[in-house]
């Protein structure tokens, strides 16, 4: 069997599989607004805005924009039924409050530590004599600690916290098996602390993204499996017929991750170049099949929920999901373009990387059509501001990633800081910013408390937006120049190092702004957790205080 056959076979299998899945799951193909897209709303709730992080003025403004958009159809006759369903939702929110809080609090701690190590590593790259006296502070370790704190600390903790909080809301029931998730959280964090300690003292498995020694990883696998259990139990007790888009992404991701990690950490199985192929199969899939789906699930839930309008096209979201599932898994080989691995493997990954444009466009068009006419809402809704920016960055980073896989572009960008910038557009500008938005939405529901200082949300937003902007732009340019210099045989290698220095300094500036943003966020989160401040709000839309912008606005609409 020759390589062309393998390539064609794999490609045709992916496309056929995709077609079969979408065909078998289609429903009301040409219906504008099928029932399945409205699952996240209670009866008569479409047209009502929800953003717990907004102040009452912001909320009134938000509702006004939505009402002016002409999409708000509120039927007062359904008010009683809505009231009952909202009461049920409060029960659902209460069942997740404690579990989600634990995960999110861990996420914030890891975020702060990860930022510190990221910043130290960044400074070291343009100032190599900075902190060289101790082995645990050498670049190779601080960078690895940064990566592992982000990849196994901040990201999964935030993702689990948000996923567990969304589950009962999406399935209209309460959370089952929350205790398993708590136990899983403890095992996971214990494993992570042990793993980070190992890396710091110099014991690691030597594979990028898989550094934590496999003996310690058992804790993470067990913890991850326990955390996925509530999904199974809650699914089994669901009270809705339709599984909403977010559930597909979360369900798949929570099952994909333990398998990925298990295969990746199998001791004494992988060897030589095959191990390199596996390494990048894992490295890319942990982004594509774990973090990305959870963030997409959040966008699919929060964006329509905040503006009170169902997602534009159910069928586009179907295409988006299954195309991601079929294509994303096979893109990892593009990390080895030009490497000593079989050529068919690289070609296959490049083809599937380009195919990723399909699910990305399906998602982007869908979100854009849903937001159309409502972009002014980002002015009023703090959560939406993060979510919309994050969703846009998903499109940017994914399209950039597809093209980066092409041989001609990879030849320049591979081995340079350009890929580092790309990774941060994906995992920070997309994933982390979506998670920030989600946390701003979720925490007031968890704590029954308003954010003490709405202004700090704004400060956080602008610090991290500006920070990642400086970071991504400067490092992309610097990395590209580095790649060009490296390809120019007439230039000594040192030129490719020296050309990056100013851009690496700019990256430190960007990183500093981001870290400041995280400190603001962490302080605000702590104040929230301690119920600091005076404003106490009732849960959901039911509070009986005189500030009832939603209901007032709704009545007036």
């Amino acid at each position: 069997m020759n390589t062309v056959t393998v390539l064609l076979l794999s490609f045709i299998l992916s496309v056929t599989g995709l077609g079969i899945f979408i065909w078998s799951l289609r429903r009301n193909m040409f219906d504008d607004n099928p029932e399945a897209a409205s699952v996240i709303f209670s009866t008569g709730e479409i047209g009502r805005v929800e953003d717990p992080s907004a102040t009452s003025e912001q909320r009134a403004g938000l509702q006004r924009v939505v009402a002016e958009g002409g999409k708000a159809v509120i039927d007062p006759s359904l008010a009683d039924k809505l009231r009952q369903e909202l009461r049920d939702r409060i029960d659902a929110d209460q069942s997740t409050a404690y579990v989600s809080f634990v995960f999110l609090a861990c996420a914030i701690v890891w975020l702060v530590f990860a930022s510190a190590f990221g910043l130290v590593s960044s400074i070291k790259l343009h100032n190599p004599e900075f902190l060289t006296q101790y082995a645990w502070l050498t670049f190779g370790r601080t960078r690895t600690l940064h990566l592992n704190m982000v990849a196994y600390g901040w990201c999964p903790m935030a993702a689990f916290g948000i996923a567990i909080w969304m589950l009962p809301r999406l399935l209209k029931t309460h959370l089952y098996g929350g205790r398993f998730a708590l136990l899983g959280c403890m095992l996971w964090n214990a494993g992570l602390i042990a793993g980070l300690g190992s890396i710091a003292v110099g014991i690691n498995d030597g594979l990028e993204w898989l550094e934590i020694p496999w003996q310690v990883s058992i804790l993470l696998v067990a913890g991850g499996a326990l955390i996925a259990l509530p999904l199974v139990f809650t699914l089994a007790n669901r009270k809705v017929d339709h599984l909403y888009v977010s559930i597909w992404y979360m369900g798949a991701a929570l099952f994909w991750f333990p398998v990925l990690y298990l295969v990746g950490k199998l001791p004494a199985v992988h060897y030589g170049v095959e191990q390199a192929a596996m390494n990048w199969w894992f490295g890319h899939n942990v982004l594509g099949l774990y973090y990305t789906p959870i963030a997409l699930a959040s966008v699919y839930y929060f964006l329509p929920k905040i503006i009170g309008r169902p997602i534009q096209s159910y069928n586009l979201s179907l295409i988006g999901f299954w195309a991601l599932a079929f294509f994303y898994g096979q893109v990892g080989g593009h990390h080895l373009v030009g490497g000593p691995v079989p050529h068919w493997l690289i070609t296959l990954s490049i083809v599937q990387s380009m195919m990723m444009i399909i699910p990305v466009l399906a998602f982007s068009v869908n979100q854009h059509l849903t937001m159309r006419g409502h972009f002014k809402t980002t002015y009023y809704s703090p959560t939406l501001r993060f979510i919309v920016l994050g969703a846009m960055m998903y499109t940017l980073s994914s399209v950039e990633g597809s093209f980066e896989a092409l041989r001609s572009i990879s030849t320049v960008t591979h081995f340079t800081h350009f890929t580092v910038a790309h990774a941060h557009i994906g995992l920070y500008a997309f994933f982390s910013i979506v998670m920030f938005g989600a946390i701003y939405f979720v925490m007031p529901r968890i704590m029954n408390w308003e954010w003490p200082h709405p202004r700090l949300i704004s400060v956080h937003f602008w610090l991290v937006t500006l920070g990642i902007g400086v970071y991504a732009v400067s490092l992309s340019i610097g990395g590209w120049l580095q790649g060009l210099d490296m390809l120019d045989a007439a230039k000594p290698f040192m030129e490719s190092v020296l050309v990056t220095i100013p851009y690496l300094q700019a990256r430190t500036l960007g990183g500093t702004l981001m870290t400041l943003g995280h400190l603001v966020f962490a302080v605000h989160f702590t104040q929230m957790a301690l119920r600091y401040g005076r404003h106490r709000i009732g849960p959901a839309l039911l509070h009986q205080r005189k500030n009832q912008p939603e209901l007032q606005a709704a009545a007036g609409a």
């Binding site: 393998v6 794999s10 599989g17 799951l25 004599e129 006296q133 339709h242 170049v273 898994g329 340079t416």
Partner: protein
């Protein structure tokens, strides 16, 4: 979508397809790769040095995979011919790397076979390469007033010699340098024979797995 079973089984099928193509197929195709005759297994000291290389995270700035001359001027830079799967026969774990903040090291042993140069360069990279951004590794050395018997003294350029002290390499530095100078894949290879043809069976297994 109404069925969680359809969702989860579909999700597992797609992952199985990805695992079959990116992990299992390479596993089967590459399992027949033989070590080139000129490639020697690592000695114990070199393996210890390799562990130091891993624990210090050298791989995050140094690749070990020169590209072909048709793609990049790696050969002209003295980094060696494009590597093949057999070159990594004794490598557990692989250290191919993804960054070239520093140069490729697959053939550093052929380029810089001097123990003195490598030791001094680890102690203070900028003593040898002005403008280098490589971290110094002073904790792998000890400063002594006078060398004792058995000590390996690092011969630094006079400008970087500490006043009235000698720099003595600790065992981890000596191991690491032994590993570095063992990195030499300059022997010729015949690219045609390195990769065996894809066997029939695995590809079929992959397609069957995906069709379920």
């Amino acid at each position: 979508m109404e069925s969680e079973y359809k969702l989860l089984s579909g999700a597992m099928v797609t992952l199985a397809l990805a695992t079959a193509t990116l992990v299992m197929l390479p596993y089967m195709q590459l399992s027949d790769v033989q070590a080139p005759a000129e490639l020697k297994p690592y000695t114990d000291q070199q393996l210890r040095g390799r562990e130091v290389y891993i624990s210090m995270g050298c791989v995050y700035c140094h690749s070990q995979q020169p590209r072909s001359q048709s793609q990049a001027p790696d050969f002209q830079r003295g980094w060696g011919r494009a590597s093949v799967a057999g070159d990594y026969y004794y490598d557990h774990p692989h250290l191919l790397g993804t960054m070239r903040t520093g140069p490729d090291l697959l053939n550093i042993g052929a380029r810089q076979p001097s123990v003195d140069w490598n030791l001094g360069h680890l102690y203070e990279p900028r003593a040898y390469t002005p403008g280098s951004t490589m971290p110094a590794f002073p904790f792998m050395f000890s400063l002594k007033d006078k060398a004792e018997e058995g000590d390996v003294v690092v011969k630094l350029p006079p400008s970087h010699q500490p006043e009235g002290k000698v720099v003595v390499a600790k065992p981890e530095a000596l191991d690491l340098v032994q590993y570095l100078i063992s990195l030499n894949r300059t022997y010729p290879i015949d690219p045609g024979v390195d990769l065996p043809e894809l066997p029939q069976a695995p590809a079929q297994a992959a397609s069957e797995g995906a069709a379920q």
